[in-house]
């Protein structure tokens, strides 16, 4: 409560780290519910088309999926380490870890790109003739696969942009050892991207 009375310039700018974190968590709730909507659709269709989902999942490359899971989990770790580094006032180390996070995220997307291209090469993409001749369960499975991993990929891209901005902030000293809430919130967002993948991976790759 004391924070609000402290700084009140004419432009109503005040610093409230707890408030910023609260706002971020609320935003993450909305993201979870956004994906939750799709998981709901997924669970309904999986319930009504169990066997077809089972067979369709065999066409995905589990190895690439597993590898990507590891990449993303590692990136979450480097993200957390960058926050620890800034807390200890080690600006360069923090930027190094942020850079590493971006690198891993890009790596994830490159993998995803090859995975998608391989499937498209096999004629499995929305609206393709091969897919439309299949049973409805398989159409739904791949529809959801493309939409959910695609939207997740979009979140990865947003994450990359956010972390790049944070790198710039860190180098300029906007994010520093006693004011790192922006980096922390970016970290929270990145962990959310990670968590969503943790659910996507078994639901699409491991139900064979």
């Amino acid at each position: 409560m004391t924070t609000q009375a402290q700084v009140h310039s004419t432009e109503h700018v005040h610093r409230d780290d707890v408030g910023a974190r609260l706002g971020m968590w609320l935003f993450l709730f909305t993201e979870l519910i956004l994906f939750g909507g799709m998981f709901l659709v997924y669970s309904v269709y999986r319930f009504t088309h169990q066997a077809e989902f089972h067979i369709a999942a065999k066409e995905l490359n589990t190895l690439v999926g597993t590898f990507n899971t590891m990449v993303l989990l590692t990136s979450s770790m480097t993200m957390a380490l960058s926050i620890v580094a800034i807390q200890r006032n080690n600006k360069r180390l923090s930027m190094f870890f942020q850079f590493l996070t971006i690198l891993l995220a890009v790596f994830f997307l490159v993998n995803k790109f090859f995975e998608w291209s391989a499937e498209i090469h096999h004629g499995i993409y929305p609206g393709s003739e091969t897919l439309l001749n299949e049973k409805s369960g398989k159409i739904l499975f791949f529809g959801l696969y493309y939409v959910m991993t695609g939207l997740h990929g979009l979140h990865v891209i947003v994450g990359i942009i956010l972390i790049s901005v944070m790198m710039r902030f860190t180098s300029k000293g906007v994010v520093k050892h006693d004011d790192y809430i922006k980096l922390e919130n970016t970290g929270l967002y990145w962990h959310l991207v990670d968590i969503i993948w943790i659910f996507l991976f078994p639901l699409f790759y491991l139900i064979t």
Partner: protein, 552 residues
């Protein structure tokens, strides 16, 4: 402190937020301002513009229905009219009306804060609102014409029709995002920025209802966001999700749609209820009855309202168990709503009621909302719902709740707070005349819908059997009366802004909440220093004493 913004000194008074000179001048000083009061005004201008458009489409629909057969437009255009009317009124008017205008303007003041928690995010959400509004307008002018699906965008028609459904869907998506950000901002503001002395149970009741609304906005809106996005993806990329031709389930779409859109009804009505709880004690000059019950019933409505969506779908085919559960939960929501109505009427009891314009609208609210609410409970009964489903009974019912409820609360709030916002008083007599015309027009317009719906007139129909002609005719006449009333009301406001009597009195109506303790119009900083709140906001000791004396 930022030095490049120069405060204007006028006779030792702090300049009001209207006169305040910030970094930017002229129109930029408004559209780039992060001041919650200016953003509130921005919302007011844009929301009222869209409201006017919605009224026009509603008027055209009613005009078409004045006689059976073709009157002014063909059936396809009629479908576009009711879709536009629905999309504009729901997504662009009634959802943002009270929270975005009065929430933005008064929420920080009511809790003794200088602004919302995230002022820049607040401005951003206004830009999103404008973007969404422009997308909706683009759907009208782009080739293909506006969507003709109805505001519900039911599958499979919404993936088959050639009209600009995508624009309308994207508009709703973007507007949803705007609504989420406003909600997020309000929750954080209420948690973090209350004056240190303001405990939870010292908050004004409108703050409670804004708070409950904000939670529904944050938790329910993402579902409609993703659902509409999935329909867009399905239309553009032919991904199989809901379309039965691609193996999808259209009923699942309806569930997803109503999981948001029923709670959205409470996003619309809860702020209205907050306004009622705010205004009643002021004009009854009496302490509100059952403060905690009203506060908790807001939360209860938000909670139960999120669990009743499938009562929109009793006729689409669900398991019996599902129908019973949703029917029961629908009845349960009526309880907290009724608690509020009882508390309001109990507050009026032995009060010295002053029939100022805001109070007239509030009393009309209680009357109309009760009709809307009771017809709503009727539809919670499965047997009745199957009978009246998709008839104009439903249309009558939700206009009684949405327009008679939220709309009237919105008008009450305009009459209550507008003089505070601009420091100019409107003509009271003209306001009262407008009220009676609006009230009459409203009932003449919507009550026949209840009757003919009961007799079997289907909703959204372009043509009808001759036996329904008298009802349609009366209803259309009602729409004209209503519009005349609205024109008088808004002209009254516009005149008051230019030529109305200037007021500087802090407390216009004798309210006990914090906005009446600051300057009229408020200064840029709202409060010179953060106020100390001693008691909960609706203590009218003088009147209580008078009543006690009378007893003795």
């Amino acid at each position: 402190m930022i030095t490049d913004s120069v405060a204007l000194e006028t006779n030792g008074h702090e300049p009001s937020y209207l006169e305040y000179k910030g970094k930017h001048k002229g129109i930029l000083g408004w559209i780039l301002s992060t001041d919650h009061k200016r953003i509130g005004i921005l919302y007011m201008c844009s929301v009222l513009t869209f409201f006017a458009m919605g009224v026009v489409f509603g008027f055209l629909m009613r005009l078409e229905l004045i006689a059976p057969g073709k009157t002014i437009v063909n059936a396809e255009t009629y479908n576009k009219f009711f879709t536009l009317h629905g999309v504009i009124m729901i997504f662009l008017f009634i959802i943002p009306a009270i929270p975005a205008i009065f929430g933005n303007f008064f929420l920080p003041i009511l809790i003794g804060a200088k602004d919302v928690a995230f002022p820049r995010l607040n401005l951003f959400s206004w830009y999103l609102y404008i973007t969404g509004g422009l997308l909706a307008l683009m759907s009208i002018v782009m080739p293909g014409g506006p969507a003709d699906t109805g505001w519900t965008f039911y599958i499979p028609y919404s993936v088959r029709t050639d009209t600009n459904v995508i624009y309308a869907l994207m508009a709703a998506f973007v507007l949803g995002f705007s609504s989420i950000l406003t909600g997020l901002n309000f929750i954080t503001t209420v948690h973090r920025l209350r004056a240190p002395s303001m405990g939870w149970f010292k908050m004004p009741l409108s703050v409670w209802s804004f708070y409950a609304t904000a939670w529904v906005q944050v938790l329910a809106t993402p579902i409609i966001g993703i659902t509409l996005l999935l329909v867009v993806i399905e239309r553009v990329l032919h991904v199989g999700i809901f379309d039965p031709a691609l193996g999808g389930d259209p009923v699942l779409y309806q569930h997803m749609f109503w999981i948001y859109s029923h709670p959205a009804v409470y996003i619309m009505i809860l702020p209205g209820m907050g306004i009622v709880s705010e205004i009643i004690p002021v004009f009854a000059h009496r302490t509100i009855f059952g403060y905690k019950f009203i506060a908790f019933s807001s939360i209860a409505i938000a909670l139960f309202g999120s669990l009743v969506w499938a009562h929109h779908m009793f006729t689409v085919g669900m398991s019996d168990a599902g129908e019973f559960i949703f029917s029961l939960l629908t009845m349960v929501v009526a309880i907290p709503s009724a608690i509020k109505v009882f508390n309001w009427t109990a507050t009026l009891y032995k009060g010295s009621i002053e029939l100022a314009p805001p109070m007239l609208y509030i009393l009309a609210f209680i009357f109309l909302f009760s009709i809307g609410g009771l017809t709503g409970v009727m539809q919670g009964v499965i047997a009745i719902d199957i009978q009246v489903h998709n008839t104009s009974f439903i249309v009558g019912h939700f206009h009684y709740v949405m327009f008679g409820g939220t709309g009237f609360a919105f008008f009450a709030a305009l009459h209550y707070w507008l003089p505070k916002m601009f420091g100019r008083m409107y003509n009271i007599k003209r306001a009262k005349v407008a009220f009676w015309i609006i009230f009459t027009g409203f009932n003449v317009l919507y009550f026949p819908m209840l009757i003919m719906g009961w007799l079997g007139m289907p909703r959204r129909y372009y043509d009808y059997l001759p036996q329904f002609h008298p009802y349609h005719f009366i209803s259309t006449i009602g729409s004209w009366i209503l519009i005349i009333g609205l024109i008088i009301m808004f002209t009254n406001f516009v005149i008051s802004l230019r030529r109305g009597e200037k007021i500087t009195k802090k407390n216009l109506w004798g309210g006990e909440t914090l906005e009446w303790q600051i300057d009229t119009p408020p200064t840029f900083e709202n409060f010179a220093e953060i106020p100390v709140v001693e008691d909960y906001p609706y203590v009218y000791k003088d009147n209580e004493i008078a009543v006690e004396e009378e007893k003795v």
